[in-house]
């Protein structure tokens, strides 16, 4: 795998080892080239040189390690039946969530599909809230009523978490319209998958967004499998970034966190000036579609382990950190241990949170005191005013 080349602008490399302690907070800009070039459609691609810093790359490592650990913990919680329902894991795709956050602000909106655990974490969500929501407890980010597929975070403009495939795309364009209207120079990132890319609603939304110059960035998370169907079997044109036709597009290596950061930054500038743009993130998920899917009936184990060896996002960043002497092997291992402990503590805390009250079944359907009545099993027996 091609390692990035360092074009020296900082003197980190030449610092004596005794000063390496300060590296974790070193924000001196470094420029690193992305592993692969960008391919563009109807626009000029951004430069391959990404401005970053040691502290930032280290934070990438930490965040991605935390996301990876969270997903693995969710896997074992599901297997021990503490998480019920459906659980769609994001491990393998962490670079996307982390890189995107690095390129934008918390005022920009993100809306995604059901594979939202890491996006929530990226938006500043707490591990405890995530685990509580997964287990359906009151402490969860949606008060335990949403579950795995419905994480939201209002203060960070994270509009969730949607179960129905593709339904979030027109919604996201609506968000962009509101942002344009408010003139606050914010954008909306609308994430969807390669499976959803064949939904009619995508094209309806694209047309509207392009017609009205909305600051919407449609991000296709192409992990090459729409549940059990490979992209070459479900799409006539698997070049999802070109599908917008009149909407410009960019193809990005989704396993390279720096490339993702660069692309999102570029896309934000583009959208604010010129309207919608499609970003196709070439990524991969190690788990199956959901916990009920072993992930091996439609792809070989060799393929999965191959990607894990060659393209794993966390390993890439680790190699980057080691090759640029930003951190030692031991420091990174310690960081992973800390993250593991963080996750374990969060799980323990989440387990203690209580399940929502039974009366919560009837709340938040309509506005409080709307006066709508709901009837129980036998209309005459149980009547409740919906809150």
């Amino acid at each position: 795998m091609a390692l990035s080349r360092l074009s020296l602008r900082s003197t980190t490399f030449l610092k004596p080892s005794s000063l390496r302690r300060h590296v974790t907070t070193d924000t001196t800009p470094i420029t690193i080239e992305t592993a692969a070039p960008f391919t563009s459609h109807q626009c000029d691609p951004p430069s391959r040189s990404v401005e970053t810093s040691s502290a930032e790359i280290l934070s990438f490592f930490r965040d991605m390690a935390r996301m990876r650990r969270m997903e693995i913990a969710a896997d074992s919680l599901y297997k021990s039946k503490l998480i019920r329902g459906f659980c769609h894991l994001y491990d393998g795709q962490e670079a996307l969530a982390v890189g995107m956050e690095a390129g934008i602000t918390k005022k920009d909106a993100i809306i995604t599909s059901y594979r939202d655990h890491c996006t929530f974490l990226g938006r500043g969500g707490e591990l405890v809230d995530a685990f509580s929501e997964l287990m359906g407890r009151m402490r969860g980010c949606s008060n335990g009523k949403g579950g795995s597929m419905h994480f939201y975070k209002k203060d960070a403009c994270f509009y969730g978490g949607h179960g129905i495939v593709g339904a979030q795309i027109p919604l996201g364009c609506g968000l962009a319209f509101a942002q344009k209207y408010s003139k606050e120079e914010n954008v909306s990132f609308v994430l969807y998958g390669d499976g959803a890319a064949n939904q009619g609603q995508l094209f309806e939304a694209l047309n509207i967004a392009a017609l009205w110059d909305l600051p919407a960035i449609l991000v296709c998370e192409n992990n090459h499998y729409g549940m059990g169907t490979a992209t070459w079997r479900s799409a006539k044109s698997p070049a999802y970034f070109k599908r917008g036709d009149y909407v410009p597009g960019l193809k990005v290596d989704g396993m390279d966190v720096l490339a993702v950061k660069q692309a999102c930054k570029f896309a934000k500038e583009h959208a604010l000036k010129n309207g919608p743009i499609i970003l196709e993130m070439d990524t991969y998920r190690y788990h199956g579609h959901s916990m009920s899917d072993p992930g091996s009936t439609y792809r070989t184990r060799d393929e999965v382990s191959g990607v894990r060896q060659v393209r794993d996002p966390i390993e890439r960043v680790r190699k980057l950190l080691l090759s640029h002497d930003i951190a030692t092997e031991k420091e990174l291992k310690d960081m992973e241990k800390e993250v593991r402990k963080e996750v374990d503590d969060a799980v323990a805390q989440a387990k203690e949170s209580p399940v929502p009250e039974a009366s919560e079944l009837f709340t938040n359907m309509y506005v409080k005191d709307c006066g709508v009545e709901s009837f129980g099993a036998d209309r005459k027996e149980l009547k409740v005013t919906l809150a």
């Binding site: 459906f86 009523k145 169907t229 009920s292 039974a358 009837f375 209309r379 919906l386």
Partner: protein
């Protein structure tokens, strides 16, 4: 008498009757082989037979190629080829529209929608195209070969988007048929009938029963007639109507209601506990329940249900979908129109609550057997009998010490109903 005979005859369908050359039997003959199958295997068998008997039939949908998420389509692609059994991209509206077109050319299109919760993008195609094609073209064209299969209903942990029961939406659309089987044997016969029916059919399969329900299923090709309800349990006191997985719940409620506790023994051992309260707790009397499986919701068998309600005088309908506007409302209104003077109590609906299908609250939402048992319809015949029994026994016990019990007992008996 005639209605009794009619209902009795419906239970045993004579082979070779009324359906021309095809042999129909709900009960297997001794010579026919049966196999113990679960629901998804029965459906798989039905699909194999359907594709085998009609070379112009196709099965398609999301992920059906490798067998489908519930294994209903295993082996089909290998046996019949990728030209007849194929995966579609993720676009329900496109899939159903495509199926309608295929059916309009005289083919049999068996479309799979992965979960009934995802059928809504295709709702326009079903309501505005499939249901009205024959009508608006003056019978020049039709899409009768279309069958849409979707797993529906609660599964214990499905949450908002893997547990919905949307049958009520489709029952409101003249021009299509809605069919829901309750068990593997029924499913195979009903699915084959649906595929071969010359009208578009929406076939909902209770996903909870895919692995849970196991039954002896005949291996031969058989069809179960549509729009014929079946009385699966005879009774005299109350009629219960349901479909799909809910029938297993209702059967449990029937069994509970029919329990008779020997209160005489209880009384002898615990006479000092005799009081109004005590008697209510000790005494129970059986209620004989008649359970009907509708099978086809649109068009539904009104005659069977009507005959049953005229016999029993009470009706209880149960379904998982929310109670307001659920299909139970249609049954209730129709039966009220037809049997008003024979009804002894209002029609009872024990259904899901008027909320989105919840995640952690699923046990509260579901219409369980306890909700059915304690509903006013099921307990009111009991209450009436109890009332008189208690009055009589109360009098009996008060004078136990003072007067001859014989006199008072005979006095009390006349209170008994």
């Amino acid at each position: 008498m005639a209605s009794l005979l009619g209902r009795f005859c419906r239970k045993l369908v004579v082979p070779g009757s009324a359906h021309g050359s095809r042999m129909i039997s709900t009960t297997a003959c001794d010579s026919e082989a049966v196999k113990s199958l679960n629901l998804y295997s029965a459906i798989n068998q039905a699909l194999h037979i359907a594709l085998e008997t009609d070379p112009r039939s196709y099965v398609f949908g999301e992920d059906v190629g490798f067998g489908g998420v519930f294994r209903c389509t295993t082996g089909l692609a290998e046996r019949f080829g990728k030209n007849r059994v194929f995966n579609t991209p993720l676009c329900e509206q496109g899939i159903v529209g495509f199926g309608i077109g295929l059916a309009a050319m005289g083919n049999r299109a068996v479309v799979e929608i992965q979960f009934a919760d995802y059928i809504y993008p295709a709702f326009d195609q079903i309501v505005n195209e499939a249901a009205k094609f024959r009508y608006r073209s003056g019978n020049q064209f039709n899409c009768g070969g279309l069958t849409i299969r979707a797993p529906y209903g609660a599964v214990g942990h499905g949450g908002h988007y893997h547990s919905q029961s949307p049958e009520a939406f489709f029952c409101h659309v003249p021009g299509i048929k809605v069919v829901i089987p309750r068990s593997p044997r029924e499913a195979k016969g009903l699915l084959l009938s649906s595929i071969r029916d010359p009208n578009p059919v929406v076939f909902f399969e209770p996903k909870w029963l895919y692995r849970q329900a196991v039954e002896e299923v005949p291996e031969h090709d058989y069809m179960i007639p549509l729009s014929q309800a079946e009385v699966i349990r005879e009774g005299n006191d109350i009629t219960l109507v349901g479909w799909g997985a809910q029938l297993t719940v209702m059967e449990q409620a029937c069994l509970d209601a029919e329990k008779v506790l020997d209160f005489i023994f209880q009384l002898k051992d615990n006479w000092f506990k005799v009081s109004n309260m005590g008697l209510e707790l000790i005494m129970q009397e059986g209620i004989s329940c008649e359970l009907i499986d509708l099978k086809t919701l649109l068009p539904w068998d009104k005659e069977t249900v009507e005959a049953s309600v005229k016999k029993t005088g009470r009706l209880l309908i149960s379904h998982e979908a929310p109670v307001t506007g659920g299909f139970g409302a249609e049954i209730s209104a129709t039966i009220l129109e037809r049997c008003f003077l024979k009804l002894e109590a209002p029609v009872s609906r024990v259904c899901g609550l008027d909320t989105p299908f919840p995640l952690v609250f699923e046990p509260f939402y579901m219409p369980t057997k306890n909700k059915a048992s304690s509903s006013s319809s099921l307990s009111s015949p009991l209450k009436k009998k109890r009332h008189y029994l208690i009055m009589g026994l109360h009098v009996w016990c008060r004078y136990w010490m003072q007067s001859s019990p014989l006199l008072i007992t005979s006095h009390s008996i006349c209170f008994f109903r």
